[in-house]
């Protein structure tokens, strides 16, 4: 790094690499929605994995207790992070490994390149790792004449197809078997030309293709699911055995791990090794998990490195309302239950991290002011399914709302008033204030109306007018201004002739004094339901 640091900045620097949308989410989503195959494959995949997950989760009588424990351990780990990272470094070093620190993607890439060069090798085998995808390591190495071979079957398909992953667990789910066969026939020099599109045959073609690479590779690069501070242990959870090949056979092993992956104790594995496989692939346990601690003489790689990566993680950590996004164990359960993800697929999110977690993590890593990620917090209907599915109980909807607030504040013309003072300071003082948009005006009006019952009552008198806007079918099919986007693809039912509040007032007047029990159920009965229901459908 050539830049001179002038003290520690108030807001940690943003992360770089493949954590940014390349275009606004609505635009990308619109295009991806036109891809019927993607949607069909994704629908099938998400539903299948979702069902499997539910089955194996319901087997465990203590699932909720495990989630609580997972969440508590992660919270503890984050709050003790400086101490745990130092302890991890000490232990990993004491057992023969070398620890490197990388402020951002560029620094991590440079470190890894240097370590590969030292070995004299110009090719590496890789086991699926989100961190190296995040920093764009493959592209970086390729530009410098080092070939990086992905060894996970799906990653191999994506790499050979010069494509991008669409799901973090099954990255090639957007490709059908025939397309995969065509990619293999085109890109594998030694493949049997009579290869069929049967999944078993395709998997065996990949096995044969990679076998020689595994047996001859000198350098492997991995990510890590966990790093244990107590003894400096690293862990990789996988299915195919490509991970074991990479972690065992080469002489040199380089692991790139985000600083948030560190856990305090080895005992914590008993929680995460129950949460992760069941949430991820919907299995009781994944086929293979490897744990290694530095160097074991005579067994496995003897030249072992780990690169601890920041790349915006400290920035996310500085946001006290958003920091729990760093608890994520990348299981992908939130994606599989997300109605938005299921339809748009992973590509629409641009970043390495798609779906609900991506919608919060990417902007937290780059800062929501980063123009390209500012639309991500809106890529959600806030239905809450992701929160329920998350094994470490990250409250994704709450963070989405928080980030939307940050975005509005960053973009729009409101000063940090008395209420915004606590987070103003260094963080927002440098921000350019834009002109109020239509949305600001609308939200301003809403806050004016909703903050007083009288004002709301006054507005509700306008309901019959709005009703007149509707056609004979009782639907409003075109709204002006900002509302136009909303009515472009749907009709809004005409508002009821009377508001709920005024109906309620009248009912209270007409009705005999309610007995205690009945009063709490009141609104659910009688004429209110039909009005309530139409409102619900408009969501």
């Amino acid at each position: 790094m050539s830049s001179v640091s002038l003290g520690i900045p108030a807001v940690p620097p943003r992360g770089f690499g493949n954590i940014s949308a390349v275009e606004p989410f609505p635009q990308a989503a619109h295009r991806e929605l036109g891809n019927a195959q993607l949607r069909e494959n994704l629908g099938h995949a998400t539903h299948t994995i979702r069902d499997k997950r539910l089955r194996v989760v319901s087997e465990l009588p203590d699932w909720q207790a495990l989630r609580d424990a997972g969440s508590a351990i992660k919270t503890e780990a984050m709050s003790r992070l400086p101490e745990l990272l130092t302890q991890f470094e000490e232990q990993f070093t004491a057992r023969g490994g070398t620890v490197h620190w990388a402020r951002d993607a560029a620094e991590a890439n440079r470190i890894v390149e240097g370590l590969i060069r030292e070995t004299g090798s110009d090719e590496v085998v890789k086991v699926k790792s989100m961190a190296t995808q995040e920093i764009g390591l493959n592209e970086y190495l390729e530009e410098r004449g080092i070939a990086a071979f992905e060894t996970d079957l799906a990653e191999l398909i994506v790499q050979l197809g010069h494509d991008k992953p669409s799901h973090i667990l099954v990255p090639a789910i957007h490709k059908n078997r025939t397309e995969i066969r065509d990619i293999f026939l085109r890109e594998m020099p030694d493949v049997d030309p009579a290869l069929t599109d049967e999944p078993r045959r395709l998997a065996m073609a990949a096995r044969a293709h990679l076998r020689r690479k595994f047996l001859s590779a000198k350098v492997a690069i991995s990510g890590a699911n966990f790093g244990i501070a107590e003894m400096g242990t690293l862990g990789v959870v996988e299915s195919e055995g490509n991970g074991r090949m990479c972690l065992t056979l080469p002489e040199t092993l380089i692991t790139v791990m985000g600083i948030e992956k560190v856990l305090p104790r080895a005992q914590d594995l008993e929680v995460f090794m129950q949460l992760l496989p069941r949430s991820s692939t919907g299995e009781r346990m994944n086929p293979y998990t490897s744990l290694w601690t530095g160097v074991t003489p005579g067994d496995g790689p003897q030249n072992v490195h780990v690169v601890l990566l920041d790349n915006g993680r400290t920035r996310a950590l500085a946001d006290r309302h958003g920091r729990s996004a760093l608890h994520c164990i990348r299981c992908s359960a939130c994606m599989n239950v997300c109605p938005v993800y299921e339809r748009t697929g992973g590509h629409a999110y641009g970043s390495t991290y798609p779906g609900p977690i991506g919608a919060i993590l990417s902007p937290l890593l780059t800062g929501v002011e980063a123009e390209e990620n500012s639309s991500l917090p809106y890529a959600s209907s806030l239905c809450g399914a992701c929160f329920d599915a998350c094994p470490v109980k990250i409250n994704i909807p709450e963070i989405l709302v928080h980030l939307r607030g940050e975005d509005v504040e960053a973009k729009h013309g409101r000063d940090a008033g008395p209420g915004g003072a606590d987070r103003a300071g260094a963080k927002s003082s440098g921000r350019r204030r834009g002109l109020p948009t239509q949305m600001d005006v609308a939200l301003g009006a809403a806050s004016w109306a909703l903050s007083s019952g009288d004002r709301l009552g006054l507005l509700e008198k306008g309901l019959p007018v709005a009703r007149a806007l509707a056609g004979r079918d009782g639907k409003i099919s075109r709204l002006p201004g900002l509302g136009a986007g909303w009515t472009q693809s749907r009709d809004i039912p005409a508002p009821p002739s009377e508001s709920f509040r005024s109906w309620w007032k009248k009912r209270q007047k007409d009705a005999p004094p309610a007995d205690g029990d009945g009063s709490t159920r009141g609104p659910a009965t009688g004429g209110a339901t039909s009005d309530g229901a139409t409102e619900g459908e408009a969501q």
Partner: protein
Amino acid sequence: MSAREEILGRVREALGAEPAAVQPSALAEYRTESGLDEDALVELLVDRLEDYKARVEVVPRGNVAAAVRARLEGKEFAVPEGFPAEWLDPSLDERAVRDSREAPLAVVRLDGLDAVVTSSAVSIAETGTIVLDGSPDQGRRAISLVPDHHVCVVPVETIVGIVPEGFARLDTTRPLTLISGPSATSDIELERVEGVHGPRTLDVIIAR
């Protein structure tokens, strides 16, 4: 400033003066014991392993050698130096290739072998997981990985009920491999294919 100091500084700054979080042990309400007896443990482990498409056999301790021989007859296989002699029938000696940390077989040699036989450190019944920890009776990680067929002996006293009981018995500083069935992939249209890079056949012999 070095990257290390800068990152640690950023982390401290980001955390500010946060109160220390609750110790998770206070919240550990999850199960730490299964309470299953030996019969139940064996039954559960067999059920889970078969679900993963492993071949499982339960034999009396005295019959382990015969069971191993039946699986390895006619094959050339790797065997870790510390594998109990009483589990290896002398008739197999000729085709048994010894491996140890001190005298490791080359990877290409391992690739040319038909199979490998090892013992195991701990097995977790509820998840059908067998753990190897690199002890002399289990050998280097490479030998149970490269050959296409893994015959694994599980002594009954190493079986536990649930994951926390398993980790309680393990030393994480040893190189650990947790194996739950043969390798598998579901990457192509979500259709499960057993056996990709790891051994495509897993035979488990539970010794009672």
